[in-house]
Assembly symmetry: C2
Homo-oligomer: 403 residues x 2
């Protein structure tokens, strides 16, 4: 049973909400924040002075003053001094970045994949070393307030164990606890599924901003998914929900890495497209190969066109199924699915017109990711920021203590 | 921005919660309620005395007293005096019932389907007449606190418009407002999709009690669905979510009433089973025909066995897809899907073993509905009770006013 929240809980909630506003929407005047949050200006002033004292925001006079009277101070996130480490561990991409409060990438490093790509130990050590190096390279006074990892596979969110990393051959690897130990920053490393995190990032600051019902399809080598239902990420009982790439759309179809056949991933993902276009083994990376096929189709290449047509048809079945099941307001295509969708949109839409129920399809919008290649990395950053945005002062105190 | 709830809001919330406890779990002592709600006994006493004064509960001495000292009074819902009208408008079933607080069916009437089954006007009049008759037949002092309808089709929940009733040939029929007008009880009639409501009922007092992630498949003529994600019904943008019967599992397969082919409904529903078993046109009703096929298969009939095998295979594909997408803790088979699942469970499970991802399938339970044929009716009743359980005193005052 919910009792009335204490004044302390209300203050904490308001501090987090204010910080989230400037983190997601950028600098804003006290007056604008008061209006958005439905609070009076003296409450806003008290909140911003707490956040300023903690070093999370600064206040300054606006650059342009339009109205007569005392100008409202502008509240700005301390992007250079308060940051997180965001790690993107994808099939063909290993990135570690420092992302400042407000979402600016401060610096980043691509990590060379150690010799045996399947050796979890080596890879985790390499990631931790790069992470530590980035943190050491910051100026005095800068503070790392969280570490988040976007992993391309099935992750148990509560403890960051990778249950299955199909592209990397991992089963039950304790990625979160091992990174926590080897980075030794005094911060717990949180791990999430990359497509789930990208979906949250697209909703926070991308194509799905402000929408409560979103399906995000992420193409890496496979197809991952992040589904937002009623404003919340679909987790399911164990947090494994959203695996829309393993919906069987073509029973008995192409074999899939998961052991089944005809999954959306194996029929409409990059490997299917490359195979249908007769370009397997040409050596171009996944994304580059897909771009080449889309370009070739644009130039009239019949094989490329036919490959995109087939892939678009299966993608259309998958999207129609998801629209019937979820009645979302938007479907977002991200990662390499962005290119695949752009090359096959007509086919996807014609499938949807046949297989989508009128009530559900009449209002849905199909869009490509607006965060592009950065969606998963930005999702990892948002995961890392979640503590400080929930309880700013307590998190700062804890982090300073561990520092 | 959330401000602190007022004492009045807290009281209203607690009154609703207490009433919901005795409504769903039956009579309980004040002491037990205090423990379940985390409130002290004097607060519980104040709440129960308000509810008693409003005529919603009674308090009485327990029948058996085990401990020494003053016994804790037992709080009992006023099931005979406070009731709702619940309507179940299915493909082959038209029921109107009075359901008392606590979930007891007080009386019920099957409604004869007027001559032209597709004439919305006649059917709505017939339902309204039976509803009015049941209300008139109650003893003095009994109070109808809501009217809820479970409809087998796509419903816009906000205003009770039937967007599409495939089995009945309706398009954009204002069922809610027309029933409200013709019943003339001074109560707004709420309408919901039957499978959605049955899912809520199974979670409230059925197989899924206490679970937050449930998929409910409902077989009528078609296959409807109700999906509960994180404790909340999946609605989607327009409230049309959960149409899992129109997930295409067999591209190019059997034609479906929705205009597509190979939907779960057209491959694994009762019509598919009856057709595969060579029993179309035999005249037995859907449920009876399905039961006969399951019985025949049990006796070794090869055609019936093969039909169940095929249907179970498609059902397995559908269930595996849903498990991968939602990671639910339970899948519940209701309506005639109960019989179909019981006759094909081995095939469903073997499909799931191939096509379900380990992390998602290892903990899911497959179950049949425990409310059985009453699931949709009980769902309609829960919809009708929702006002009084949200704000007991205000709803009572409003209803008494309209009476």
């Amino acid at each position: 049973m919910r009792a009335a929240p204490s004044p302390e809980e209300i203050r904490r909630h308001n501090l987090g909400t204010l910080l989230r506003h400037v983190h997601l929407s950028g600098p804003a005047s006290r007056a604008a924040l008061a209006e958005r949050m439905g609070l009076n200006r003296s409450t806003i002033m008290a909140l911003t002075s707490d956040l300023t004292a903690a070093g999370l925001v600064t206040e300054e006079l606006p650059k342009t003053v339009r109205k007569a009277g005392r100008p409202s101070l502008v509240v700005r996130p301390e992007s250079d001094r308060v940051y997180v480490l965001a790690l993107d561990v994808g099939a063909d991409r290993l990135v570690v970045a420092r992302v400042g409060l407000g979402g600016t990438v401060l610096d980043r490093a691509d990590v060379a994949r150690p010799g045996g790509t399947h050796n979890a130990d080596d890879l985790i050590s390499a990631l931790a070393a790069v992470g530590r190096r980035l943190v050491r390279g910051t100026e005095a006074g800068a503070l790392c307030v969280g570490v988040g990892v976007a992993f391309s596979g099935i992750v148990r969110q509560e403890d960051g164990v990778v249950r299955h990393g199909p592209n990397i051959g991992w089963v039950d690897v304790p990625l979160g606890t091992e990174l926590t130990r080897r980075m030794a920053l005094g911060l717990r490393v949180s791990v999430g599924n990359d497509a789930n995190l990208a979906a949250l990032a697209e909703r926070a600051r991308g194509a799905g901003a402000g929408l409560d019902d979103i399906i995000y399809l992420h193409g890496d080598v496979g197809i991952g998914g992040g589904v937002i239902v009623g404003g919340r990420l679909l987790g399911g009982e164990g947090g494994y929900g959203g695996e829309i790439g393993h919906m069987v759309v073509n029973p008995g179809g192409r074999p899939c890495g998961c052991g089944s056949r005809g999954c959306l991933e194996s029929e409409a993902g990059e490997l299917a497209l490359i195979a249908l276009a007769g370009r397997s083994g040409e050596g171009a990376s996944g994304r580059r190969a897909v771009e080449q096929i889309v370009d070739a189709a644009d130039r009239g290449d019949a094989t490329a066109r036919s490959a995109l047509h087939q892939v678009g048809d299966w993608l259309g079945y998958g999207v129609a199924n998801l629209i019937n099941i979820f009645n979302p307001s938007m479907v977002i295509f991200g990662g390499v699915m962005r290119e695949i969708y752009m090359g096959s949109a007509a086919q996807v839409r014609s499938r949807l017109a046949i297989d989508g129920l009128t009530a559900a399809r009449e209002s849905v919008r199909l869009r490509t990711s607006s965060l592009g290649e950065e969606a998963t990395l930005m999702g990892a950053a948002e995961l890392a920021f979640s503590d400080v945005l929930t309880d700013p002062l307590e998190t700062l105190a804890r982090v300073r203590n561990a520092d």
